[in-house]
Amino acid sequence: MSLTLEQVQRIAHLARIEISESEARTTQSHLNGIFQLIEQMQAVDTRGVEPMAHAQELSQRLRPDAVTEENRRAAFQAVAPETEAGLYLVPKVIE
């Protein structure tokens, strides 16, 4: 398998990372090297093997539906790039 330049640009768009054409070319060559390594997996017959998503076979715990956290909006918004009146500011989305 080999990724085309267009595929690299498409993936970068899906990941919301701006990429120039020259960066895309370097990335293409690195990713193709990495996928060559990854391709070793394809030679293995894994029919009937249960996929393992996690090291521990656990089900999610439930907790009582009670408020346990205090409101710390000011502290959490102090690290935000831009806020106003307790809201996070982003460029206008709806015209």
């Binding site: 993936i11 919301r16 990495i34 293995v44 393992m52 656990l58 690290v79 935000a80 996070y88």
Partner: protein, 485 residues
Amino acid sequence: MINASLKQLSQALATKQISSVELTRLFLDRIARLNPVLNAFVTVDAEKSLNSARTADARIAAGTAGQLTGIPIAQKDIFCAEGWRTTCGSKMLANFVSPYDATVIRKMHGEAGMVSLGKTNMDEFAMGSSNETSFFGPVRNPWDTERVPGGSSGGSATAVAARLAPAATGTDTGGSIRQPAALCSLTGLKPTYGVVSRYGMIAFASSLDQGGPMAASAEDCALLLNTMAGFDERDSTSLERPVEDYARDLDKPLAGLRIGLPREFFGEGCDAGVMAAVRAAIAEYEKLGATAVEVSLPNSHLSVPAYYVIAPAEASSNLSRFDGVRYGYRAEDYGSLDDMYMKSRAQGFGAEVKRRILIGTYVLSHGYYDAYYLQAQRIRRLIADDFVEAFKSCDVIMGPTSPSTAFKLGEKAADPVQMYLSDIYTIAVNLAGLPGMSVPCGFAGGLPVGLQLIGNYFGEAQLLNVAHRYQQATDWHQRRPPGIA
């Protein structure tokens, strides 16, 4: 005091030979003197550290101190600590001052009363094996400052090896505690997945990430793990288990211990000098009463390929939170919301992090999910089953931690695949979720070699016992880098 064990420091503090403030100053002075060359710390805040030390001294005076109260420690900059800048080695978080404590930090600062000396350098978002992907520049290995300390916990490794701190925290997703421990001649432990809380530990690959101690000896690691481990309701994968004393079995004799040597770890691909030191260590274990048996991990060669699907897939999802809205870097100039995301992420992440996000995005995308992600998860099962089979005929598994000693800065930086292969012996342990350690076992060409110990699930106390008995019989773990005064 610089080379003292945690137990010795604890006694010195309890008997008022030294105060926590004096001890903290001693290490802060070393950091001020040596860090400009080594670059092990990215953030130091002497006043904050000394304040904690004063609180610790008050507890010691009041008779309410615990065993580690007043002992300084270096924190990998992946652990959020309230009021401390927490960068994860990234431009994305270069100005992020955490509004809360990770559970590991809360336990250390609160109940245990330990003193944080600062935050240590690391590969960006823990993605790397050399500490060269850090936004804050590479860390140097105190054994040879032209060489890497390993990664991603490279700053923590160098800090302890150069005695800028008595001990440090690390995290291990594919070898990030064990490989730098090996390259810097330290003892490092990655616990069973779920033993140490991940709350407040910035996520890379959530099904693999696990925090653990890095220190000079197995005994030190045991005391630290006693503080770090435990159930945490804030981490949905934290395991509800009875509290353990990880130091309880340190002195148990090793007679009858069965050591499994995986055929695949003793073949080609490992430097001869590393192999010679590892074999000498196993011979030492035989003198201590253990027997070596051959075992096989037939799918271990697939661990690197499977890992480089699973870890990037999880990373691409975890790192989508960095969008320039709620915290972290936002680009200066942008147009639309999408443009703001794209520019903030393009400028805020380094090359290796972007590469892994792209791999992850691709393997999770429509049409490729089955071929890559599901196939990797099936191989993960085969790898975990190999260990189950191997542990039927042995108690612990041993082999090299890393196929080579510390490599030169820049040597592997241009070739991601070469870099990835430096974790060839450590990654399978994360995929299976098992505990693993690296223990200093000698030198090759003047550079440290690490012996890897792999235990069965929840076998931390046994691993620490096996490491401790070896350290009672040898002095590799007491060697210090000659160039660092």
